[in-house]
Subunit: 371 residues, 2 copies
Amino acid sequence: MSIWEQIDQPTLLINETVARANIACMLQRAQSKGVAFRPHFKTHQSAQIGEWFRDLGVEKITVSSVEMAEYFADHGWKDILIAFSMNPRQTKRINALARRVHLGILIENMDVLPPIYLFGVEPLDVWIKVDAGSRRTGVDWQDKKGIHELCEVVNRIPRLRLTGLLTHSGHSYHAGSLKKVNKIFREGVDRLNQLRDELEAAGHSGLKVSVGDTLGCSLCEDWSGIDEVRPGNFVLYDAQQAKEGSCKVEDISVALACPVVAKHPERREVVVYGGAIHLSKDNLEVDGKLSYGLPALPSGEGWGAPIPHARVDRLSQEHGILWIPGPEFEQIAIGDLVFVLPAHSCLTVQAMGDYLSLSGEKISTFNKKAE
Amino acid sequence: MSIWEQIDQPTLLINETVARANIACMLQRAQSKGVAFRPHFKTHQSAQIGEWFRDLGVEKITVSSVEMAEYFADHGWKDILIAFSMNPRQTKRINALARRVHLGILIENMDVLPPIYLFGVEPLDVWIKVDAGSRRTGVDWQDKKGIHELCEVVNRIPRLRLTGLLTHSGHSYHAGSLKKVNKIFREGVDRLNQLRDELEAAGHSGLKVSVGDTLGCSLCEDWSGIDEVRPGNFVLYDAQQAKEGSCKVEDISVALACPVVAKHPERREVVVYGGAIHLSKDNLEVDGKLSYGLPALPSGEGWGAPIPHARVDRLSQEHGILWIPGPEFEQIAIGDLVFVLPAHSCLTVQAMGDYLSLSGEKISTFNKKAE
């Protein structure tokens, strides 16, 4: 029985060949630029996919929560950065984890330091979380006084190792042009380097600069002044990334297989089992209209290119309503599978909790559901 | 240790007293109108919360997938309607389930009937899924010929029991006024009754009319012509429902507890651990701007009223950025918990996978995560 015959409910497929090529490509890119590679595992969230990185010699990783750090520590990862501003309610868990692995955390304010101090922390790398322009969170890069004070206090706490300055320039998404993406990328790096120089002059030597985001790491060529990169999405990519230009649609390594349950020819709509609880409600624009992913048809052992001008027009809890304006509409029958390339693969992986490889193997994640 | 001290990561709280009152209220409403009550369990998704319905004598339920039907069958429910158009890829699972419980399915096209016929189905209730105006899916209510033919064919298949006509008028959300909600609600009921009369004249007697949606069932008073209602959201309610007027904010029985990790006074923003993977990206308008829920402060054993004019302004994977324009901003400290009343509780429950009661008891769901 082919995997197409096995699938009876929304199923997240992963093309291992494409995913492994994506990993090799980004690793090679970092190596060629002489920059340390600490990929973000919040996108794929899977110990098994982590092995595809380990096969290429990757040893340092980034995660987005203490819970995820615990999961990857359980799966043998020994050098983990939790790229989320320190949550003082998790001090004890962080401390327990630091006993097992080389752990890094982000600090952006003094208030979280007393519990660390009180609990008698294990050795920890501390990165100062800097807002270099994204306005999400972090100490404003212009708040020189605040950053200097924070470094002073961190240095005074035994076993906290002031390691470097870290930013995430998430505002490069929707920048609209390669020139603007480049500008935002370099702006972040340059601001962190300026801070590093000032801190060095104040006696804090050897600080590193860490930047993230798949878009900047995929598109920008000037990596000078960067010590470490933390892209994550590139292993899977998605429709948003393809739209922004960081990948081609054929580099997207995941697709949601959805059973077709109804067709409405008068409005060119196909109704699939596959809704907001599978894809998430993240979206992108297709021909100026909102779409929750890119519909595609089966092709060979996987899926084909996105159907031209087709959209995932609406989502409810379990329903997806696809709009298929071209002749592909007639090729789709009730009972068939249609594929949706996710708008945002991080959220789709989180929603689904596991993958199926094209050879029919189940690949579970940190967020896998109970059987 | 209070539950507030125990919580160290985003946690979905449920106020059992409020949820039980919501159940009693909707049940009493259906009973007073002499209409059968078949609540939709896709919102709460929990066997344990199901018991709160059973305590009041509820015996028939609605679910949104075969998988969810299997879960509730495993938890002792014996009369289940799968309110999702028949997916022919799941024929064998449906058949296996029909051996265990009194099962209902929705049919909206002929193409799904051959596999049912071929597999030699167990006795099944069949509801004709009618699109009475929502344009999601179902046979168009004006396609009289199609509906008559479908009924004929269903009647010809042994052990399929043609049971009634079913619609979901989901377009009542965003109708904008009670008058319009009423109009949409009655329009759906009236269109189904017209069809029923015509089918009766053609020899299909005893068909029932089933309608759904919490909004219509909460707000509309004229239930004539309805045999069964299937509201679901009312047990939890949410910010969207409160905005539409089907509940008051104090009727919302769930809130996401989020640890505060940063504050940015210059832009009145509080950063919490609690993002798109916890709340979902569903949203509503607050003061004309998009918000992913309603922020609230702790109060007594639970949470207080939503903070006036506050918004969940932005969400990324794990981060929530709350905008708190008033003096409540100064009351919030790093390390505190802030609460978010979900924009859409169905999707938040799905994302979280379990609840914590205000007495500290974990309540798991169909979608619970592996330990």
